[in-house]
Symmetry: C2
Subunit: 698 residues, 2 copies
């Protein structure tokens, strides 16, 4: 991928469409750059109608410039943008930002121009950011390529990299600077004819000033690039928090980038995000909560919680929220108990959650030693500090102590400002960069997500890459293979199936039954027939050669009568699954964006009523196969619920891994695969594919 | 129940423990009453050490007063509080508020004094509010019986009645006045020796100035009173929103009122709240969101949603949140389409969610007609208006239009202020009393809860009362009856069981088998043996008299060998349940707070893995029996999933109603009942209790 450093921090810029017409995009963007940015490189203005602007010389054309700038900023009317891009590319400009709107988002003509822009990118190597972009803000360097007057108000730098599609929600997050969040870079690539969200994530993953990435995403065109960007973030151990816009039917319909993908079921996207260690959030305020925790510190994943509170009610509510989000309260160490016993009034009950009680109003000096003891307790990973109400100068004192203890100890403290009145205490937290969370449930949720990343980061496998890396074309035609062929194919690739033989003539039956040596089931084999049972093309419980002959005759007659058109390959005789197993299933489909995705679950009811499945992008690894099985809620049925025998989990894992290998060998041509049921026997008895439907790209 | 009007709005008050010592509770409470309240009745000060205070005469004792005041406010030291209460009661004072702390919350001596206070209440009829209370605030009348200096800052009156236990979280909600919420009355009864949360809810339910009640509750001592209060709120059609503090083990341990009840599983409490049409919320900010919607308007329950947005991203996110919370977007009427087509720019796509696009910045005049058209659309019940960012005077204009349209149309509008920057626009919403919600997910959640109340209010049955109305004593001893007796008891009360006979002697077997006339199962009958299968005391599939004799012999021998101590009543021969049914179960337990609660669900796995049960306080009504069955997620198994035959739902409903009747006839002595399994046959085949365990208070 192209190194984008010079897009974010160019040495020289040409501004094409520079203007001093008040309110025009050219004028506003130029004002931000000249008056409100700290840009110190060369800036060339291009406007053929003017000699000077802002006391700077105007060039008539890009080709007149004395040097080749790193970046071209383009604000000209839509009809001349392509020309400006071509001229810039011609002289060797590396990056172009196009503010101008009125392209693919309005009509077919605009789409055609965007296609020409894409061709220019491929032919010239110049990278395009936009068109129709609100711009790019490098707060760290205080450089704004942006026409919004809000640029100059949102300049609190920090280690957050923000990536959005569209402008408004990005600005919402920029305004969380007013809650204490510092943001280093904000990108929003508009129509994304070239550079897109994945490129910005990729850049930020490698950019040393960025510690955590926040992305608000409607869709991505190229799932492979997105996955690569997420893996790069993993490689650099940088958390990537993501809000997916368009999770639902109506949300998707309303999302602006209709052409964008990630349009699958929300549950599929979420499973992929989880696998890629992306921290999925559900709203913008949650994004701020989560990201600010990562700014504060790195999670290990096993952090236990302390609650330090001024009120019993708030302590109890915080404990509720903590437990409801699956977090654990720490047991205080003896040292902490001793300090608290010394410092707190005798009647205080010293426990976690700690309520130092309203008496502190008259003895604020107890705050510092007691809070220090709690946050530095070796059992405590995070301290949640609920502040239920604004209480003037007393709460200012409290907040000063929080900031001081945080700065002195480096401990992770989550102040929770619960009141709608934001007074001086709130201001002190904000000023310190300790972003106060606005409710206890939000705090617990954020801590849970933060901790989850700590756990997830541990099993990073830098070599893992998905099987299919190119987007799936929209018009793919697929063909399916028969159950018999499908199972043979699976068996050839090491997936256990039950003993079976295809009989194309009744004379083969006796030998077949002897070879299988067990009770069998008979089924028609025909690529034309999918619902075999419905037309009497399946017979169970066949124990003798006579029964088998009778089954052969009955089935073929029934099929010829019901489906005279069907081409019959023969009758399959197959060992019946032994009693006492549990039925599971595995499906693989090629997601248009993310590639091959495996879905695992137990019998139909659990899937239908409780949507109890787990998912992984392929290929599986041994550890992901094990966790795929274990993260369904039904797992306890396999592990031996209420004294039942445990199932053969090793065999099931091997089967899933073999399916993954099989898909990998088939490559991008494999469209879908379903093994339903998988018979999973008791420990040692194995796991077998009983039925299989496989489709390939034709 | 006592009419509490004169507690909230007394004509005359005696203030016992009046003081001018700066910072003392007596001084601060008196200052609030004299300087910051609009109290116009008579105020008598009692302080035996002073002649005058604040230029008012001081009385030495309550008995010196020229009239009997409605209310005594008591701030004396703890050791003289009881005396002050007794003197007040002696002259006929009707209500006493005790600010003083240091009683039951600190030690046994304090508990003893509280017991004496309770006795005084019973003997005199004077009602006590407190002790250890932060006070009572009647914002509507601007009267504060409170010592907090915050009293004077939180005086935005409105139709919300607030009831809390403890002070801090109540003050948090009082400060939501800064988000535009008006609160008429706030009660917090401290140690609640007499008046408790239920009394305040009961009062507010009948108080005309209160439209909606918000309660933050750690526990209630008397579930019957609480239920009665909730039913009174239902009767007056007033929504009661409740936050339960102490939902979890750690939350419960931290809650202050350890003696209070409602200590059962959170899921049980939540089921009871739902049945009582209480709107349960999970955090304080959610309380403000939900309550402010009720202040704005009354829900019908079928409201559909419009989203009116200035940004495509916000529109899509709002649509996501709406759909994820089960809300439906309205289809705009033709009239609305016509207006929007006229008003909006030609390129705008006119749909719900509506994105009027950033162009409105230059044409703010389109806001008023387009918003008016949307909110008055006959298909639209609620309009969610996301405001993604503060954008200076433009957003002020937007907010002015929102307020104007709301005032002119009376339509329900939920403005969502998504940014952490709260500028002038936010202020305009707050000033108008349109409480801006702070995130889209919070808005969707609040609308969902509000609508849910609209649906729930429809099936109000004013006659329904629970079976057990007195709290369960802590030391109840229970006795269980044998399965055989239990089932006989059920059969006598109309609950279908399968044909069975008890044989106490082998000579009865032949006649028994003939009488049953079906395949039978044999089981030992003994009150001493609960796990019959484990010791070989059950035999299935008995078809002949010989098999039955053999079973009798084998079972009695096995029991005598394994459990020589057990008293054997005989062997029960019972018809085996036919194949093809579905197993359900029903349990009843007497919750210590709420009385008899029924739990219904399907087979073990669904309960164990998915906690898929539904619950109702008894007695059931025909409609609650039907919904009890239907609200489990497994219901589709009974209604005929994937072509299976539907179960006999009528029979199942009759069975549950008969169980409810049975419990009602047993009354408070019934402790637990479990029928597991219930065999539910296909339609017409009935439903039968196959096993039963019943325990009574001994």
């Amino acid at each position: 991928m192209t190194d984008l450093s010079r897009l974010f921090d160019p040495r020289s810029i040409v501004f094409i469409g520079a203007s001093d017409r008040a309110g025009s995009i050219g004028q506003r963007a130029l004002a931000n750059l000249i008056e409100h940015s700290a840009f110190t490189g060369s800036l060339y203005l291009v406007n053929p109608k003017r000699d000077n602007l802002y006391e700077r010389r105007c060039f008539a054309s890009v080709s007149d410039l004395p040097e080749v700038p790193d970046l071209a900023i383009i604000c000209t009317p839509a009809q001349s943008v392509l020309q400006a891009l071509r001229e810039s590319a011609a002289i060797g400009v590396r990056f172009a930002i196009v503010f101008t709107a009125g392209f693919g988002e309005v009509n077919e003509e605009g789409k055609a121009i965007e296609a020409a822009m894409k061709r220019l990118v491929h032919s010239s190597g110049m990278r395009i950011y936009g068109p129709n972009t609100p711009g790019l803000t490098n707060v760290t360097k205080r450089i704004g390529f942006a026409f919004s007057p809000a640029f100059r108000t949102d300049l609190r730098a920090g280690p957050v990299g923000l990536v959005t599609q569209g402008g408004a929600l990005g600005r919402t997050l920029m305004q969380s600077m007013d809650r204490g969040l510092g943001i280093g870079i904000w990108c929003s690539g508009g129509n994304e004819v070239d550079l897109e969200i994945s490129d910005f994530i990729q850049f930020m993953a490698q950019e040393p000033t960025i510690k955590v990435i926040a992305a608000v995403v409607e869709g991505v065109r190229d799932g492979g690039r997105f996955i690569e960007a997420a893996l790069t973030a993993n490689l650099h151990d940088k958390p990537l928090a993501l809000l997916k816009i368009g999770k639902t039917t109506s949300g998707m319909a309303a999302a602006q980038s209709h052409t964008a993908a990630m349009s699958g079921e929300a549950a599929v996207n979420s499973a992929v995000f989880r696998q890629l260690k992306i921290i999925e959030v559900n709203d913008l305020d949650e994004m701020t909560d989560v990201v600010s925790l990562f700014v504060q510190s790195d999670p290990k994943g096993d952090e236990q919680i302390a609650i330090y509170s001024l009120s019993g009610g708030a302590a109890a509510l915080a404990a509720d929220m903590t437990e409801l989000h699956g977090l654990r309260l720490a047991a205080f160490s003896d040292t902490t108990y001793r300090v608290l016993r010394d410092v707190l009034p005798a009647f205080a009950s010293i426990n976690n959650p700690l309520d130092i009680s309203g008496n502190v109003l008259s003895t604020p000096e107890i705050l510092y030693p007691s809070l220090t003891a709690v946050v530095t307790d070796p059992n405590v990973g995070v301290t949640i500090f609920p502040i239920p109400l604004d209480y003037g100068s007393f709460i200012e004192t409290v907040c000063e102590v929080i900031v001081r203890v945080r700065n002195e100890t480096g401990a992770t403290i989550v102040p929770v400002w619960m009141s709608d009145r934001t007074g001086g205490g709130y201001g002190k937290l904000v000023a310190s960069g300790l972003v106060p969370v606005r409710s206890l449930r939000n705090a617990a949720l954020a801590v849970d997500r933060w901790r989850g990343f700590g756990r997830a980061r541990k099993d990073h496998d830098p070599r893992w890459r998905p099987i299919a890396r190119t987007p799936l074309a929209a018009n793919v035609v697929s063909r399916s293979v028969s159950e018999f062929e499908g199972k043979q194919l699976l068996a050839e690739h090491g997936i256990p199936i039950l003993r079976s033989r295809l009989c194309t003539d009744p004379s083969q039956i006796a030998a077949t039954i002897e070879a299988i040596g067990a009770t069998v089931v008979a089924k028609i084999v025909s690529a034309d027939i999918t619902h075999k049972s419905d037309i009497g093309a399946v017979r169970l419980d066949i124990r003798t050669v006579e029964e088998a002959r009778d089954a052969y005759e009955t089935i073929t007659t029934a099929v010829r009568r019901c489906r005279p058109d069907a081409e019959i390959q023969g009758v399959l005789f197959e060992q019946m699954a032994p009693a006492g197993g549990i039925e599971a299933f595995v499906g693989v489909h090629r997601d248009p964006v993310f590639g091959h995705l495996m879905t695992f679950g137990l019998g139909g009811i659990f899937v239908e009523l409780f949507k109890d499945v787990s998912r992984r992008l392929l290929p599986l690894t041994p550890s992901s196969a094990a966790s795929l099985i274990r993260e369904t809620r039904c797992f306890s049925l396999l592990s031996g619920l209420r004294g039942r025998p445990a199932s053969d989990l090793d065999a099931l894992e091997r089967l899933l891994l073999a399916v993954s290998d099989f898909v990998e060998r088939q490559g991008e041509s494999l469209m879908t695969l379903e093994i339903n049921p998988i018979w999973v026997g008791p420990a040692g008895a194995g796991a077998f594919a009983l039925d299989a439907v496989i489709t390939f790209e034709r």
